[in-house]
C-alpha cells in the first residue's frame, strides 16, 4: 500500500479530481499501466486526458509517419516533426503534460507484437485498427485479464467499444436525509447532511468478436440480428466504416471522395441486406459527414474514452456498456449494448 500512496505534490496536483473520484481511485490510477495504440487525432486526445489523470505509465504505439495532414490535427506535434515517426514525435509535448507519468514509445506495427506483449498492461486502448487486430488483441487481453477499449472518429461520427470482461465496480450514491429540518426548529438528533453509500455492481462485457463478427456464422450465434429492431442504426454505420478500413487498409479520404463514396455505398447495400436494416435509418447522405478526423469530435470521443479508461482502472462509477455511439448530426451520445 505504501508504494502507491500519494505524495503531497501529487495530492496537490490532482486535488480537483480527487475531490470528485476519491483518493482510492487516484491510487488505482497511480498504479495503472496503459497501452495506447494509435496517436492520431483521436489518440492524441486520449493520450492527453489519461496523462493528465495521473496513471503510472503510458506506452504509445504508432508506426505511422508525420504528414502535413497529421500535423494539422494533432496538437502534440510540431512543424519539425514532419517525416518522423508519430509516436516518437509526440514524446516531448506529451511528457510535458505530466512529468510524473512514465512515458514510452513503440514504433513497430501492432501486428508484429507478440501476444505476451499486451499482457503486461492494466488496460489496452486501441484506435485506427482493423477488425482483425481488434479481435486478436481483445482475445489476448481476455486471456490475461487485461481490460480493453477501442474507438475511432470518422468525420463527425465517432464510437467507442469496451471489453471490461466481468467488471466489478462501485458507485457512490448520495442519500438525502429523510427529513429536512429548518435551522430554528432545533431537533438536534437529526442532521440534514447528505450521506454517501457505496453500491457494488457488476457488468458482463461480451468479447469484441461478438460485436464485430468476422464471419456471418458468428453473428447469428451471438444474436445480433435479434437485437436489430432496437439497435441504434449508428452501430451499422460503425460496422460499415470498419469494413471499409478492413477492405482498403485505410479510412475514407476526402482526396478520393467520389471513389470512396462508391465503395461505401456498396458496403451499405451489403450490410442492409445482411442485417435487414431499415434503409431509411442508414441513409447514404450520412457519408458526406464521415471524412477526416474532425478535431472537436476527437475531443468529445477522446474525453469519453479516457473517462471510460479511468472508470475501468479505478473500478468506480458506471461504465458505458459496451458501445458508445455519437450521432454525427446532433451529437447525441448513447450507450448501446451489442453482442451480449
Amino acid at each position: 500500500m505504501t508504494e502507491i500512496e500519494l505524495s503531497t505534490a501529487e495530492a496537490e496536483l490532482y486535488d480537483r479530481q480527487i475531490r470528485l473520484w476519491g483518493i482510492e481511485s487516484q491510487e488505482k490510477l497511480r498504479a495503472a499501466n496503459v497501452l495506447l495504440i494509435g496517436v492520431r487525432g483521436l489518440g492524441s486526445e486520449i493520450a492527453k486526458n489519461i496523462l493528465l489523470s495521473g496513471i503510472n505509465s503510458l506506452t504509445v504505439l504508432d508506426n505511422g509517419i508525420v504528414t502535413e495532414e497529421e500535423l494539422q490535427k494533432n496538437f502534440l506535434l510540431n512543424q519539425e516533426s514532419m517525416g518522423s515517426n508519430i509516436a516518437e514525435a509526440i514524446l516531448t509535448k506529451a511528457q510535458a503534460l505530466n512529468p510524473l507519468v512514465k512515458l514510452t514509445t513503440e514504433t513497430e506495427p501492432v501486428s508484429e507484437k507478440p501476444d505476451k506483449y499486451f499482457q503486461t498492461f492494466t488496460i489496452v486502448v486501441a484506435t485506427g485498427l482493423s477488425s482483425k487486430q481488434l479481435v486478436r488483441i481483445d482475445s489476448i487481453c481476455r486471456n490475461s485479464n487485461v481490460q480493453f477499449i477501442c474507438g475511432d472518429v470518422f468525420g463527425m461520427f465517432g464510437y467507442s467499444l469496451a471489453d471490461f470482461q466481468e467488471h466489478e465496480f462501485y458507485e457512490d450514491q448520495v442519500k438525502l436525509p429523510t427529513k429536512t429540518k429548518r435551522t430554528h426548529e432545533g431537533k438536534p438528533t437529526e442532521t440534514s447532511e447528505k450521506t454517501t453509500v457505496k453500491i457494488q455492481r457488476k457488468l458482463s462485457y461480451p468479447p469484441i468478436d461478438q460485436v464485430l463478427p468476422t464471419s456471418e456464422k458468428k453473428i447469428v450465434k451471438s444474436g445480433v440480428p435479434g437485437k436489430t429492431k432496437r439497435c441504434n442504426e449508428l452501430y451499422y454505420l460503425m460496422r460499415l466504416l470498419i469494413q471499409f478500413r478492413d477492405q482498403n487498409n485505410r479510412d475514407p479520404s476526402f482526396n478520393s471522395k467520389e471513389d470512396d463514396l462508391k465503395k461505401l455505398k456498396e458496403i451499405r447495400e451489403e450490410i442492409i441486406h445482411r442485417y435487414q436494416v431499415n434503409e431509411e435509418k442508414l441513409r447514404e447522405d450520412v457519408f458526406n459527414l464521415i471524412f477526416g478526423e474532425v478535431v472537436p469530435v476527437c475531443a468529445v470521443v477522446g474525453g469519453v474514452i479516457a473517462q471510460e479508461v479511468i472508470k475501468a482502472v479505478s473500478h468506480k462509477e458506471v461504465p458505458i456498456h459496451n458501445l458508445f455511439l455519437l450521432n454525427p448530426y446532433n451529437f447525441c451520445g448513447k450507450e448501446q449494448i451489442v453482442g451480449a
Binding site: 480537483r16 494539422q72 438525502l176 461504465p319
Partner: protein
C-alpha cells in the same frame, strides 16, 4: 493560415468563412484551454482570449496548455504562447484583464462573429450575456462541474438569454445559527472562517463569532445575569475580539478558553436555546490538549493528515501552532485574507471547526473536506472539459452556417445505470422569458425594500451591483427628475448616506436605471417593505410583480428573479440538485460570488466574494 485544417465535412460556405471569423474566448481555464486548441486545429485563425486569472498548481490536472513553470503567470498569455507553439500561423490576441472593465464595451464585442464563454462565475457570465445582447453577437455559454457539463446557445430575439431563468441562490446562514446554534459541519466551518477574520482579517461587523444575545429564540432566557457575566468573560462588547487577542498576545490557551469554554458557558445561560437541542459542552484548553482518543498518527502521509479526522488533541495542537504562524504573518501586514490554499489559514479553520463541532456534538471533518466546504471547491476533470469544449466548437460550426434552429442546448451527463444517454441534446431552442429583466423589450424589476432604512449607497451596491449585476449604474427618480446615482465619480456622492425616502423614493416610486457599459436600461418599481421575522430578507428583487404576492414557497416555480434571502427557508433541502443526473439544470460553477446574494443583513455567507475560487469553469472549469 492554412485553410486545409478546416474540417472537409463542413459546407463550402462555412469552410470559407472559418479562417476569417473573429472569435472571442472569455476565460482560459479548463474549458478555455480546450476550446482554444479545438479552434486552432479547426482552421480558425483570428482568435482573441481574455482572462484576468493567473495559473495555480491545482489547474494543471486539466488546463493542459499550462505547466508547472507557468504557475503564477497570466492564463491568457501562456495559453496564447502554448497554442502558437503548435500552430504558429494563426493570430491570437491575449488580454490579461477582467472582461467587465470599461475597455471591453459594446464596440469591442461587435467585432466578433461568435463569443464563447468559458467562465467560472455568474457575475462575469451575466455581464458577457448583456454585452452580447447589446452587440447582437451570438454567444455560446458553457460550463462543467465534475462529470457533468453543458453547452448553450444564446442569440438575441431567438433564444432565452443567460439571465432569463433565475439561478439557484448561494447558501447563506442566519447569524444566530452560526453564533449560537450550529447543527451541521458547515456552520462550524463558517464560524471558523469568521473567527479567522476576527483575529487576523479585515474587520467585518457581520462576521461576529461571539454569542448573539439578540437571538429572538433566546428571548427571556439570557437576560440580566448573562449581561453580568459578560464583563468577566472578556468584555466582548467593549473591546473588539481583535484588540483583546492582541492584548493577550495571541496566547493560544487564552484564546482557546475564551472561544471554546467561556463563550460556550455563556451560550448555556441562554436556556431557551437548549430546550429542544442538545446543549453544547464547554471545553477548556488543558482538557483539550490531553483529550482522549489521542491515537495521534504520527505518519505524515496525505491520508493521515488530510483525509482523516483529527483527534481533538491534534486540533488543539494545530490551533496553537497555526495561531503562532498567523500571528507572525500578521505582524508584517495590516490584515490577512483567508485563502483555502494557505496552509496555516486552512489548518486554523479545520481545528476551530472541529473543536466547535465536538462541543456541539456535530460530526467532524477532515482537512480535505473542510477545504472543499470552506473554499467552495467544485471538482473539475479534464475529460468533461474536453467533451464540453468539443461540443462548443461543433456548435460554432452550426452558428457559422446560420443553422440556428439546430443549436440546441446539449448536456454531458454522468453515466448511470438507469440511463443510456451520455450526451443529451435538447429537442428545441428555449425561447426567451417574456418577463426577463434583462432581455425583454422593456426590462422591469420590482424591488421591495425598507425605504426608511436603506441608504442610496446600499441600494447601489447591494441591489444594482450585486443583485442586478450592473457595473456602473446611473439612476433617476422618474417623474421628479432627481438624479439619485451617477456613474460619474463624485457627482452624486452627497446622496450616498441618505436614506432612499429622503430623496423621495417611497412606495410606488419608479426608478429609471441605466448602465452605459452594458447598454442596459432597467425600470425599477419600488415597494416599501419592512422585514418582520428575523429570517425575512432585508429586501426582495422580483422580475414579475405578481410574484410579490404568492408565498415564499411558490417562488421557485415561476420565472422570477428573487434574492437569495427569499429562498432561505428552502436552503437545507437544496443539496438535492445534483443527485438526479437526468436533471438538466444549469450546472453553474458555484465557487463564485452569487450576484443574487444580499450581504447587508446579518446573514452569513459561506464564501465571501473575495475568496472565490476562480478556478472553475462552467459554466466550469475555467
Amino acid at each position: 493560415m492554412s485553410p486545409s485544417t478546416v474540417p472537409c465535412v463542413l459546407t463550402e460556405k462555412v469552410r470559407e468563412i472559418i479562417p476569417t471569423s473573429k472569435i472571442l474566448v472569455v476565460g482560459a481555464g479548463g474549458i478555455g484551454c480546450e476550446i482554444l486548441k479545438n479552434l486552432a486545429l479547426s482552421g480558425f485563425a483570428d482568435i482573441e482570449i481574455i482572462d484576468l486569472d493567473t495559473i495555480d498548481v491545482s489547474n494543471l490536472n486539466r488546463q493542459f496548455l499550462f505547466r508547472k513553470e507557468h504557475v503564477g503567470k497570466s492564463k491568457a498569455m501562456v495559453a496564447r504562447e502554448s497554442v502558437l507553439s503548435y500552430n504558429p500561423n494563426i493570430s491570437i490576441k491575449a488580454y490579461h484583464d477582467s472582461v467587465t472593465t470599461q475597455e471591453y464595451g459594446v464596440n469591442f464585442f461587435k467585432r466578433f462573429k461568435v463569443v464563447l464563454n468559458a467562465l467560472d462565475n455568474r457575475a462575469a457570465r451575466n455581464h458577457v450575456n448583456r454585452m452580447c445582447l447589446a452587440a447582437d453577437v451570438p454567444l455560446i455559454e458553457s460550463g462543467t462541474a465534475g462529470y457533468v457539463g453543458q453547452v448553450e446557445f444564446i442569440k438575441k430575439g431567438l433564444t432565452q438569454c443567460y439571465e432569463c431563468q433565475p439561478k439557484p441562490p448561494q447558501k447563506t446562514f442566519p447569524g444566530c445559527t452560526i453564533r449560537n446554534t450550529p447543527s451541521e459541519p458547515v456552520h462550524c466551518i463558517v464560524w471558523g472562517k469568521h473567527l479567522f477574520n476576527q483575529l487576523f482579517g479585515e474587520d467585518d461587523p457581520d462576521q461576529d463569532v461571539s454569542p448573539d444575545t439578540a437571538d429572538p429564540e433566546a428571548a427571556g432566557s439570557a437576560g440580566l445575569n448573562a449581561a453580568a457575566s459578560e464583563t468577566e468573560t472578556g468584555n466582548v462588547q467593549r473591546t473588539s475580539t481583535r484588540q483583546w487577542a492582541q492584548q493577550s498576545n495571541y496566547d493560544a490557551a487564552k484564546l482557546f478558553n475564551k472561544f471554546f469554554k467561556d463563550d460556550i458557558e455563556y451560550l448555556l445561560t441562554m436556556e431557551n436555546l437548549w430546550k429542544t437541542r442538545k446543549p453544547p459542552k464547554p471545553l477548556n484548553w488543558r482538557e483539550a490538549a490531553s483529550h482522549e482518543g489521542d491515537a495521534d498518527n504520527s505518519i505524515d502521509s496525505v491520508r493521515a493528515t488530510d483525509m482523516q479526522v483529527w483527534p481533538i488533541s491534534k486540533c488543539a495542537q494545530v490551533f496553537a501552532s497555526s495561531i503562532d504562524i498567523l500571528k507572525e504573518a500578521l505582524s508584517k501586514k495590516e490584515f490577512l485574507v483567508w485563502d483555502k490554499d494557505d496552509k496555516p489559514a486552512l489548518d486554523f479553520v479545520t481545528a476551530c471547526a472541529n473543536i466547535r463541532g465536538h462541543i456541539f456534538s456535530i460530526p467532524q471533518k477532515s482537512r480535505f473536506d473542510v477545504k472543499s466546504i470552506a473554499g467552495n471547491i467544485i471538482p473539475a476533470i479534464a475529460t468533461t472539459n474536453a467533451m464540453v469544449a468539443g461540443l462548443v466548437v461543433l456548435m460554432v460550426f452550426k452558428v457559422l452556417a446560420e443553422d440556428y434552429e439546430n443549436c440546441n442546448s446539449i448536456y454531458v451527463r454522468q453515466k448511470s445505470i438507469h440511463s443510456n444517454v451520455v450526451i443529451a441534446p435538447d429537442y428545441h431552442l428555449i425561447k426567451a422569458n417574456p418577463k426577463c429583466y434583462v432581455c425583454s423589450p422593456q426590462p422591469y424589476v420590482g424591488v421591495s425594500v425598507n425605504v426608511d432604512v436603506m441608504t442610496v449607497k446600499e441600494f447601489e451596491t447591494e441591489i444594482l451591483k450585486k443583485t442586478l449585476n450592473m457595473i456602473a449604474p446611473d439612476a433617476i427618480l422618474d417623474g421628479k427628475g432627481v438624479f439619485v446615482i451617477s456613474s460619474e465619480e463624485g457627482e452624486t456622492e452627497a446622496n450616498n448616506d441618505k436614506k432612499l425616502s429622503e430623496l423621495g423614493i417611497v412606495d410606488g416610486s419608479i426608478l429609471k436605471v441605466d448602465d452605459f457599459l452594458q447598454n442596459y436600461n432597467l425600470t425599477i418599481g419600488v415597494n416599501h417593505y419592512v422585514a418582520k421575522e428575523k429570517d425575512d430578507p432585508p429586501y426582495k428583487v422580483v422580475a414579475d410583480v405578481d410574484d410579490l404576492k404568492p408565498s415564499v414557497e411558490n417562488g421557485q416555480q415561476n420565472g422570477s428573479t428573487e434574492s437569495s434571502e427569499e429562498k432561505h427557508s428552502k436552503m437545507e433541502v437544496d443539496g438535492n440538485a445534483g443527485d438526479d443526473d437526468d436533471d438538466l439544470e444549469i450546472v453553474d460553477k458555484p465557487d463564485e460570488d452569487d450576484p443574487q446574494e444580499g450581504t447587508s443583513s446579518k446573514r452569513r455567507k459561506l464564501n465571501p466574494p473575495e475568496d472565490e475560487d476562480d478556478d472553475l469553469i462552467m459554466l466550469d472549469d475555467p
